[in-house]
């Protein structure tokens, strides 16, 4: 018979908030890259403005966690869950900031002619957002195995980053007039690469909830 039903209900509500925040951030990443791909400055400005909602959600979750710690004396896996949520929301919020960074680059580029059609950058974004979504599912399902597997996928994002970097380097070597535009695209790719690293950190926290061990499961190459 479960006896701390009220506390556990509140803990589940916070988990739902984390999922909602993850969904907001995933959307922000995809929209930021869409804004770059389609030169949609209005969409880019929207991504920047919506970041406030993400930040507010993060503070709301933190406040709820602090309240639960102060009033409910969580123990064992409940305590680890709340500590992990505080870490996970920090990571998710940071991914939101990377999306803002990409949107700002879109605004900076404005109506400059495109250097090349964007193919790998949207792929990186999709891969990263998919990893983010599945890492939060692993969190909710307490699935350490899934979390470890997602971490391993960071290599795919790193590989795409390498590819984009090399390709842009060639552009710059061949025609120095492309340096500014190419550098900006490298920043975008770098933001996505860092986002995937943050997902890896989320996965580490999921493993921590389940096993109680803090371990680095897959160090990024960058």
């Amino acid at each position: 018979m479960e006896i701390r039903t009220t506390f556990h209900k509140r803990l589940r509500e916070i988990q739902d908030d984390v999922l909602a925040m993850g969904s907001m951030v995933g959307k922000a990443v995809l929209r930021s890259v869409d804004s770059l791909k389609n030169r949609d400055l209005e969409l880019a400005r929207q991504v920047v403005a919506d970041d406030q909602k993400i930040n507010n959600k993060r503070f709301e979750i933190e406040e709820k966690c602090i309240e639960l710690i102060a009033t409910q004396q969580p123990m064992a896996s409940d305590l680890r869950t709340i500590i992990a949520i505080l870490n996970i929301t920090t990571e998710v919020e940071r991914i939101g900031d990377y999306a803002v960074g990409i949107a700002r680059i879109t605004i900076m580029i404005g109506d400059e002619p495109p250097l090349k059609p964007l193919i790998d950058i949207p792929r990186m974004a999709e891969q990263t957002v998919d990893m983010l979504r599945r890492s939060l599912n692993a969190f909710v399902n307490r699935d350490a195995e899934a979390a470890k597997n997602i971490s391993a996928e960071d290599d795919m994002v790193d590989h795409l980053y390498d590819q984009i970097f090399r390709e842009l380097l060639i552009f710059m070597a061949e025609d120095p007039r492309t340096i500014t535009r190419a550098t900006r695209l490298i920043w975008v790719a770098h933001n996505l690469e860092r986002s995937a690293d943050r997902v890896t950190n989320i996965c580490e926290r999921v493993v921590f909830i389940i096993t109680g061990k803090m371990e680095e499961i897959d160090a990024s190459r960058y």
Partner: protein, 272 residues
């Protein structure tokens, strides 16, 4: 407050319906000793209000104001106003038995009567004139279900209440209070004699009951107050030993960001 009014019969069950109990500038004396000084507070309907503070700060004296239990102490005297649904309860025209029916109380030590589980629960309703067996049986089942005890005792209703475990006895005492359909339940250290699991069961039960009842709990256990309450009050003694209300507000605020330094010092263990 209008002292000529009789107590209204309607229950207040909406959480938004405001103050169920209200004290205004209440002073309480036991003879020449002042136990409470100028206590003004509203107790929200359908919420759990916890009163915490060091020993002797007047917590129990305060809670006993709400059903006039202090009347039983020789030489006690109340100044100021204590109101239930806006009606002064310290008025000569008020029926004290009626106040205590509407404002039930659960004590520190489980105190079932030395009689069967069934008779424990029907004791109050029978005193209030319920005689019909079917009706009494219905009250017993409903009260024991509300007290989360029915499943454990339904096959031994004829057994002595004293044969139950400590936690079960306390839930029986809660069922006994519920049987007379109170509106407010006062709990004075209801878990101090119970083990941690029985304590958590009572707390979970309280969270269920608060949807229909207004609960005021006095507890030495600060963690319990934090876990279970919606509103929390911190009391301490003045230098002349009279109890004062230092801070009163939402539990989530009082335990994370108290306004008064004395509350902060108490809940962080810097005095107490």
């Amino acid at each position: 407050m209008n002292a000529d009014q009789t107590l209204p019969t309607s229950r207040i069950v909406s959480p938004d319906s405001g103050a169920k109990l209200r004290t205004e500038k209440v002073n309480l004396y036991y003879g020449s000793f002042q136990a409470l000084r100028s206590i003004t507070m509203d107790i929200r309907a359908c919420a759990i209000t916890a009163i915490i503070g060091p020993s002797g700060c007047g917590k129990s004296s305060l809670i006993r104001l709400f059903n006039r239990m202090n009347d039983l102490i020789m030489g006690s005297r109340v100044e100021g106003n204590v109101a239930l649904d806006g009606v002064t309860i310290y008025d000569s025209k008020i029926d004290v038995a009626e106040v205590r029916k509407r404002v039930g109380m659960v004590f520190q030590k489980p105190n079932p009567f030395p009689m069967s589980v069934f008779d424990n629960v029907t004791f109050g309703p029978m005193r209030h004139g319920v005689k019909n067996r079917a009706e009494l049986e219905e009250i017993v089942e409903k009260s024991l279900r509300q007290a989360a005890l029915w499943e454990e005792v339904k096959d031994k209703l004829g057994q002595s209440g004293l044969a139950l475990s400590g936690g079960q006895q306390q839930r029986l005492c809660i069922a006994r209070v519920l049987a007379v359909s109170p509106e407010v339940i006062l709990m004075d250290e209801p878990c101090s004699a119970l083990d941690p699991v029985a304590t958590l069961k009572i707390e979970d039960l309280m969270r269920g009951l608060v949807e229909q009842y207004t609960i005021v709990i006095v507890t030495h256990n600060m963690q319990q107050a934090a876990r279970v309450s919606d509103m929390a009050a911190f009391m301490m003694m003045e230098e002349d030993r009279a109890g004062v209300l230092v801070e009163y507000g939402p539990t989530s605020k009082l335990f994370t960001n108290p306004k008064d330094k004395r509350t902060e010092d108490y809940i962080t263990g810097r005095f107490g």
